[in-house]
C-alpha cells in the first residue's frame, strides 16, 4: 500500500531520512522502532503529506503522492499521535464527527458509527458527550483511535500512541490495540521506541537509526540474529520486561 523509493528528507542540517526505500504491503502490521531522532515520525509525516521529501518518490497504492491529492490521501489514512491531538474545544462526539460531517454523512450513520467504535474501544457511550479535558489519558487515546477509524480508512498510522500513559493503562491499551489490529485487517504502521510493545503488536519490525533502516524482519530475527552491533545494544537496552507471552 505504501512504498518509499530512495527518499531523503532534511531539516536544515539534520538528515531525518537518508535515501530510504521500503514497502509496506496491504493489510500488514509493521512497527517502526528506533531511538528519538532516528526518522521514525518523519516517515509517517511524509506518507500523510504533512511534509515533503527533498528527493525520492512516495507511492500510495502505486500512485505517486502529489500535493493536489493529499486531502484524498489523508482521508484514507487514520492518524493517531502521542497525546491524541484531540481538539479541546469539541466534545468527543464533536471530535469524532468532524470529517464525516464535512463528507455529509447522514446524522444517523455518524451516530451509529460512533457507538460502534465506542463499543470496539470499550468506552461507555456517555463519554461521547464529554470534553477531552474531562477524560483520563487512556480514554483520550481510545477516542483518538476512534477518530482515526471513523470513516473506516484502509490504513492506520500511530505515532507513539501509548508513549505518555502509565504502565497499567498502557498494558490495557496494548491488549485493545492488538485485538483491533487483528480484527480489522488494516495496513498499520506503528511508531514506537519500545521493542517489547512493537514485538507484541506487530509482525514486522523495522529498526531505524539516523534515517536509515538497520534491520527489517520479525521479532525473532532482532532478538536472535541482530544485524549489527547497534541492534545488539538496542535489544539489550530494552530487556527490562520480558516479551509478553502471547507474542506471535
Amino acid at each position: 500500500m505504501f512504498r518509499l523509493e530512495q527518499v531523503t528528507k532534511r531539516y536544515g542540517t539534520l538528515t531525518a531520512l537518508d535515501d530510504l526505500s521500503i514497502t509496506f504491503a496491504q493489510g500488514t502490521v509493521s512497527a517502526i522502532i528506533g531511538s528519538s531522532g532516528s526518522g521514525k515520525s518523519t516517515l509517517l509525516r511524509l506518507l500523510l503529506g504533512l511534509a515533503w521529501p527533498d528527493s525520492g518518490r512516495i507511492l500510495v497504492n502505486e500512485r505517486a503522492l502529489a500535493r493536489s491529492d493529499r486531502l484524498a490521501v489523508r482521508r484514507r489514512i487514520g492518524y493517531v499521535i502521542q497525546e491524541g491531538g484531540l481538539f479541546p474545544h469539541l466534545t468527543v462526539r464533536g471530535n469524532l464527527t468532524l470529517l464525516p460531517r464535512h463528507l455529509r454523512w447522514p446524522r444517523a450513520r455518524i451516530e451509529a458509527r460512533a457507538c460502534e467504535l465506542a463499543a470496539l474501544m470499550r468506552l461507555p457511550e456517555n463519554v461521547l458527550a464529554r470534553y477531552p479535558a474531562e477524560l483520563s489519558g487512556g480514554q483520550r487515546q481510545r477516542v483518538a483511535v476512534m477518530r482515526a477509524l471513523m470513516t473506516d480508512p484502509p490504513a492506520l498510522l500511530l505515532d507513539e500512541p501509548l508513549g505518555a500513559l502509565d504502565p497499567l493503562v498502557r498494558y490495557e491499551l496494548q491488549q485493545s490495540l492488538q485485538q483491533l489490529f487483528h480484527a480489522l485487517g488494516k495496513t498499520v504502521l506503528l511508531v514506537t521506541h519500545d521493542l517489547p510493545e512493537a514485538a507484541f503488536l506487530a509482525t514486522r519490525l523495522v529498526l531505524m537509526r539516523s534515517g536509515r533502516i538497520v534491520q527489517d524482519g520479525g521479532a525473532a530475527d532482532l532478538y536472535e540474529r541482530p544485524a549489527d552491533e547497534f541492534v545488539c545494544r538496542f535489544v539489550a537496552a530494552q530487556r527490562g520486561p520480558p516479551p509478553l507471552p502471547q507474542s506471535r
Binding site: L50, R74, R75, G85, T91, G94, H102
Partner: protein, 535 residues
C-alpha cells in the same frame, strides 16, 4: 458541537453588529439638526468660539443658517478643514497666518499681501474685527514687583524662573523658539502645558512665567503683569475672518455678516466677553447674542461698540446662574454624549474587526506578510492622536468620520496581533491533527483554528475597545462629539465639574466595555477549551 458552529459566525457577526449599531447612532445623531447652507469653525478657546457664535447670530439675522463646529482644535486643524471645504470660515489672527499657515511672507505683511497669498488657496481675508490678540508672557504681580519685571528683556537676568508655555506656543515659529533667541532666555525649567491649565499652574505657584493671549480674561482677574515686548519680537495679531472665496460668492450673506463685524469689536469688549464666559461662567451663545443685539440696535444700547460686551458682562452678573437649568438637562446631555461616543467606538471597532480578522488570518498563514502587517500596525499605533486626526481631515473632512477613521487605525493593532498570535499559538500537535484529518483549509480554520484562538482574539478586541473609549474623547477636537466635548470645554473654562462630566462616564464606559467583553469571552469560549486552558 452546534455551539462551535455558531462560534465563528458569532465572531464574524460581532463586527457587523458593532458597525451597524454605531452607524445607526450616527444616523440618529445626524438626523437631528436642520440642514445648514454653510458652516464655520472655531478653535478650542473661548474667544474663537464667541467670535464664531457672533457671526452665526449675525448671519441668522440675514436669513443665513450657519453650522458652527465648535472648538475644533488648533490652527492646523481649522486650516485643513477650511482648505478642504469642511468649513467655510473661521476666526484667525494675522500673525498666525504669516507665521504658521502661509510660509515665505514677511511677519509684518500688509493686508493686501496677505489677501493675495490667500487667494492662491481660494481663500479670502476680512478686515480686522477691531482688536488684536497678541501673544505675551505674563507673571504674578507680587513677583513682578519683587524682581522689577516690566519688560521681556528683564527676564534674561532670572534663568531660575519656571516657565510653563502652551504646547502650541512652544513650537510656533512666532513663539518660543524665536523669543528665546531674541531675548536670550535660557530658563532652567521649561514645561509644555495646555493653555487652559496655564493660569491655574501660575496661580498655584507651580510656574512663574506663562504665555498669554492679551485678551485673556484672567489677566485682569488675577491682576497679572504682562511683560512689554521691548524688542518688538511678536508680529501683529489682528483678529480677522478667513473664508472660502467660493462660499462667499455663493452666500453673499456670509460675506456681508463678516464685513459687518469689521472694526466693531475693540479689545475691551473682547476681554469683557471672554471674562463673561470664563470667569462668570455665562453661556458663550448668550454672551454672543447680547453683543449682536447691541450691535444691530445701537439705539437701545448706546455705544454698542464699546459697551456692548460690557453690557453683556453686567447682564451676566444679574442673570441667575444658568447652571441649575443645565443640571436638569444633565441626563439628556449624558445620553446624547453617550450615543455619540458609542457611535465613534462602535463603528471604528466594527470596521477594524471586519478588516483586522482577515488580515490577522492572512498574516498567520504567510509569515512574511505577518511581519509587514504587524510593522504597519505598530507604526500606525505610534502616530500621536492629534497628528492622526490632522491627517484624516483632508480625507474625511471634520466631524465623526475622521475620528472614526483614526480610531479604526488604532484598533487594528490589537485585533490583528491577537488574531495572529492566537492562530500561530495553537499547539503543534493540534495543528498536525487538524491537518491530518483531511479537512480543507477553510473547514480547519472555521471549525478548529478560530475556535481555539477565540479567547486570544476576544482579548484583542477588548483591548482595542477600551483604548478606543479613551482615545475617542480626543475626537471632540475635530467636532466628533462624545465625552471629549465636556472634557475639552472644561479644560478651556477651567471647570472641574465639566471635565468630570466627560471623564467619569468615559471611565465607566471603559469598565462596562471590559466587563461586556469578559462576558462575551465566557459565552464564546467552549466549556472544553476553558477546562483545557485552566488545567
Amino acid at each position: 458541537m452546534r455551539r462551535c458552529r455558531t462560534l465563528a459566525a458569532a465572531l464574524g457577526c460581532l463586527g457587523c453588529a458593532l458597525a451597524l449599531s454605531g452607524a445607526g447612532a450616527v444616523a440618529a445623531a445626524a438626523a437631528a439638526p436642520p440642514p445648514a447652507v454653510a458652516s464655520i469653525g472655531s478653535k478650542n478657546f473661548t474667544e474663537s468660539i464667541i467670535l464664531a457664535d457672533i457671526l452665526q447670530d449675525l448671519a441668522r439675522r440675514r436669513g443665513l443658517s450657519l453650522t458652527h463646529h465648535r472648538a475644533m482644535g488648533g490652527s492646523a486643524i481649522l486650516w485643513q478643514a477650511l482648505l478642504n471645504g469642511s468649513i467655510d470660515a473661521y476666526p484667525e489672527y494675522t500673525g498666525t497666518i504669516t507665521e504658521q499657515l502661509l510660509h515665505g511672507l514677511p511677519p509684518h505683511s500688509s493686508r493686501s499681501q496677505l489677501a493675495a497669498a490667500l487667494a492662491a488657496h481660494g481663500l479670502g481675508i476680512s478686515a480686522s474685527m477691531g482688536f488684536e490678540d497678541r501673544y505675551a508672557l505674563a507673571v504674578r504681580p507680587a513677583m513682578a514687583s519683587r524682581l522689577h519685571l516690566r519688560k521681556l528683556s528683564d527676564l534674561t537676568a532670572y534663568p531660575g524662573l519656571r516657565y510653563a508655555l502652551s504646547n502650541e506656543f512652544m513650537h510656533r515659529s512666532d513663539g518660543w523658539p524665536g523669543l528665546r533667541h531674541v531675548y536670550r532666555l535660557a530658563p532652567h525649567s521649561l514645561q509644555g502645558i495646555d493653555h487652559g491649565l496655564a493660569y491655574r499652574a501660575l496661580m498655584s505657584r507651580a510656574a512663574d512665567v506663562i504665555d498669554v493671549y492679551t485678551t485673556d480674561a484672567q489677566i485682569q482677574q488675577y491682576h497679572l503683569v504682562v511683560l512689554q515686548d521691548d524688542r518688538h519680537y511678536f508680529p501683529g495679531y489682528q483678529a480677522v475672518w478667513l473664508y472660502r472665496l467660493q462660499a462667499a460668492a455663493r452666500q453673499p450673506a456670509l460675506l456681508a455678516s463678516i464685513d459687518e463685524l469689521a472694526g466693531r469689536i475693540d479689545v475691551r469688549a473682547m476681554r469683557a466677553m471672554n471674562a463673561a464666559v470664563q470667569i462668570r461662567r455665562r453661556d458663550d451663545r448668550a454672551v454672543a447674542a447680547q453683543f449682536v443685539a447691541a450691535l444691530v440696535a445701537p439705539e437701545h444700547a448706546p455705544g454698542a461698540k464699546a459697551s456692548g460686551a460690557g453690557g453683556a458682562g453686567a447682564a451676566a452678573a444679574r442673570a441667575r446662574p444658568t447652571r441649575a437649568s443645565t443640571r436638569r438637562a444633565l441626563g439628556a446631555r449624558l445620553l446624547q454624549l453617550t450615543r455619540e461616543h458609542l457611535a465613534l467606538v462602535g463603528v471604528s471597532l466594527g470596521l477594524a474587526l471586519l478588516l483586522g480578522l482577515p488580515i490577522g488570518i492572512a498574516a498567520a498563514r504567510w509569515a512574511p506578510l505577518g511581519r509587514v502587517v504587524l510593522a504597519a500596525c505598530v507604526v500606525a499605533q505610534t502616530v500621536p492622536t492629534l497628528a492622526m486626526l490632522v491627517f484624516m481631515i483632508p480625507l474625511f473632512g471634520i466631524g465623526a468620520k475622521p475620528a472614526i477613521a483614526a480610531l479604526f487605525f488604532y484598533s487594528l493593532l490589537p485585533i490583528v496581533r491577537n488574531t495572529l498570535t492566537g492562530l500561530t499559538g495553537i499547539p503543534a500537535p493540534l495543528e498536525e491533527s487538524a491537518a491530518s484529518l483531511g479537512l480543507p483549509q477553510y473547514v480547519r480554520l472555521l471549525r478548529i483554528e478560530l475556535p481555539l484562538a477565540t479567547p486570544m482574539i476576544i482579548a484583542g478586541i477588548s483591548t482595542a475597545a477600551v483604548i478606543n473609549v479613551g482615545t475617542a474623547t480626543l475626537g471632540a477636537l475635530i467636532g466628533a462629539g462624545g465625552y471629549g466635548d465636556p472634557i475639552l470645554t472644561g479644560i478651556r473654562l477651567n471647570d472641574l465639574s465639566l471635565i468630570l462630566e466627560g471623564a467619569i462616564p468615559a471611565a465607566a464606559l471603559a469598565l462596562v466595555v471590559m466587563a461586556a467583553f469578559q462576558l462575551l469571552e465566557r459565552l464564546l469560549t467552549p466549556r472544553g477549551l476553558r477546562r483545557f486552558l485552566d488545567g
